[in-house]
């Protein structure tokens, strides 16, 4: 893909493996009270898909690809922005409760 890094074969496999272990380790000690906010937070993080959607739309030729690309960007941006707003609202409350203590 134009403009992308060339990552293939075992290098890709290594990235996949290391990222998977990272994800597992990063949240392995999360307390129950943070399950919902953390799920919401990770929901926001995969909103990075919007970046790929932009590239896909940017390279789209013809109306079929353009329509699909438009939908991809629309959905991806909603994931990122909505995910952020929801998570921030939830975590804001944790702050205020500590302040009142």
């Amino acid at each position: 893909m134009e403009g992308g890094l060339v990552i293939e074969g075992f290098v890709a496999l290594y990235i996949f493996m290391l990222a998977a272990f990272t994800g597992y380790e990063v949240i392995s000690k999360v307390p129950v009270i943070l399950h919902t906010p953390l799920m919401s937070g990770s929901n926001f993080v995969h909103g990075i898909v919007v970046v790929g959607a932009m590239v896909a739309l940017g390279h789209a030729e013809g109306w079929v690809e353009q329509t699909l690309g438009f939908i991809a960007v629309f959905l991806g941006a909603g994931n990122a922005v909505g995910g952020y707003a929801v998570t921030e609202r939830m975590l804001e409350m944790f702050k205020s409760s500590r302040g009142g203590k």
Binding site: F16, A20, G41, V45, V49, V50, V51, G52
Partner: protein, 460 residues
């Protein structure tokens, strides 16, 4: 330019991982989401500089409209509706990943472009997972929002679902091996879409949090796969990290609810149980607000057990006011929270925090269960299944084995409840018929307000 873009993606990946790490501790959680947000912003802005892009107008329109809608909706919605918001935004992410794959695959099947075999296989796999996460999340949203009220079940449903999945996989394989034609590609997406719907429809509302978490992990995985297709390291790493952490989180949630994941997905709540359940004996004994207020005002120790019903009635502020009055009278007041109180693990903590209840009054099930036997009054408000002794005593009950709050061991139990119906799981609650239980029928907020007034009338 290349260096700037790749550097920004690298930075974004680091910020995502650090942000997630911070979000797993209450002290740093808020900073975590801000850091991850900065990473997202940097990655998005720098992508505009990508070489060889066009359709900028379409891009900006799509982003602008979608962002505005998502932002306003997320800000306006009530805290109790958060779970379905997570579901719908997650579905959008899955849909986006699937559509990216569609763009690439249309380029191959119709436009005659060439992709290496592994790349094409990853695109198809990501498309399958992303589409299932999309349609599944939409159904989960519709169910939690109350748009779909019934759990659709029919005989041979699992066999049927497996057939749909197999058909989707088969068309997917055909797409990878280049049996060309737009029809085949469309059939593949349609089958994957249907599988997501059929898989989610029979799952009951109580299990939805686990399912949403699972779809969250699936979306992450789909995003990761499409990242490999596009050669985009930020997507690869963020997607894979979410895929892994989401899978772990799904397991943790299922464990907190004492429901193995396989049960959630394949054996529907309350159907796999054979044999008669124990008879409930006795009858519900009502109490009025004044008597209940006196009982609590002269108690030494009161434990308040809030459930989802309290959140629905928006009673948390009144309940906290009640607790403050009791504390002023020298009553020892504590809040007991079941791990799955509310709609998701941790949901109730968020709602109580919103009302201003300090952390040191809120206790987990394991911390507080031993205290019920020397508690004068346990006030249950809007909770049902999580205080049902059948989970401890009746092996034939569908909720048998689920850890519960031992409310029935308190000297007196007052239950605020709107009506006489069964709980979320549809299981009759024997606690309501117990000798030491009194029922205070009415809307949670109204009853809490009446309790507050009656206690005020008692004076110091």
């Amino acid at each position: 330019m290349e260096l700037l873009i790749q550097g920004a993606y690298f930075l974004a990946a680091v910020l995502f991982i650090v942000g997630l790490k911070q979000m797993s501790s209450p002290v740093t959680a808020r900073r975590g989401i801000v850091w991850a947000g900065v990473g997202m912003l940097v990655a998005t802005l720098v992508t505009f500089l990508f070489p060889g892009l066009h359709n900028y107008v379409l891009m900006l329109v799509a982003m602008g409209v979608s962002s505005a809608i998502a932002w306003v909706w997320a800000r306006k919605v009530a805290m109790t509706d958060m779970p379905q918001m997570i579901a719908i935004y997650n579905g959008m992410g899955g849909g986006s990943a699937a559509t990216i794959a569609a763009v690439e695959l249309v380029g191959v099947t119709v436009g005659g472009e060439n992709l290496p075999f592994t790349v094409q296989a990853l695109a198809v796999l990501g498309a399958l997972i992303g589409t299932v996460a999309f349609s599944g999340s939409v159904i989960a949203f519709a169910k939690l929002q109350g748009l779909i009220r019934r759990s659709v079940r029919f005989g041979g449903q699992q066999v049927f679902n497996i057939l749909v999945l197999v058909a989707a996989l088969a068309t997917g394989v055909a797409v990878v091996y280049g049996y060309d034609g737009a029809g085949l590609l469309a059939a593949f997406f349609a089958l994957a879409f249907l599988f997501g719907i059929f898989m989610t429809l029979p799952i009951g509302g109580a299990d939805m949090p686990v399912v949403i978490s699972l779809y969250n992990a699936l979306t992450g995985l789909a995003v990761g796969f499409e990242g490999f297709v596009l050669g985009n390291p930020a997507m690869m790493i963020a997607g894979t990290v979410v895929g892994a952490s989401g899978s772990l989180l799904t397991q943790l949630m299922a464990k907190a609810m004492n429901r193995p994941l396989s049960n959630v997905l394949f054996s529907h709540f309350g159907t796999g149980v054979e044999g008669a359940q124990m008879e409930t004996t006795g009858e519900m004994k009502p109490i009025d607000a004044q008597d209940a207020a006196i009982m609590m005002a002269y108690a030494d120790k009161v434990i308040i057990v809030p459930g989802y019903g309290m959140a629905v009635a928006q009673a948390q502020h009144k309940v906290w006011e009640l607790a403050k009055l009791l504390l002023d009278r020298g009553v020892d007041v504590k809040f007991a929270i079941h791990p799955v109180a509310g709609r998701m693990p941790g949901h109730m903590n968020v709602l109580l925090a919103e009302a201003g209840v300090p952390y040191d009054l809120i206790f987990d099930m394991d911390e507080i269960n031993a205290e019920f036997p020397n508690t004068d009054v346990a006030l249950v408000i809007g909770a049902n299944d999580v205080v049902n002794p059948a989970a401890r005593e009746d092996p034939n009950s569908p909720i048998y084995g689920m850890p519960i709050l031992d409310v029935d061991k308190a000297r007196n139990v007052i239950v605020i409840k709107r009506g006489r119906g069964a709980g979320f799981s549809g299981v009759e609650n024997r606690l309501f018929f117990a000798d030491n239980t009194r029922m205070l029928f009415g809307d949670g907020q109204k009853m809490a307000a009446e309790l507050v007034n009656h206690i005020k009338e008692l004076g110091g």
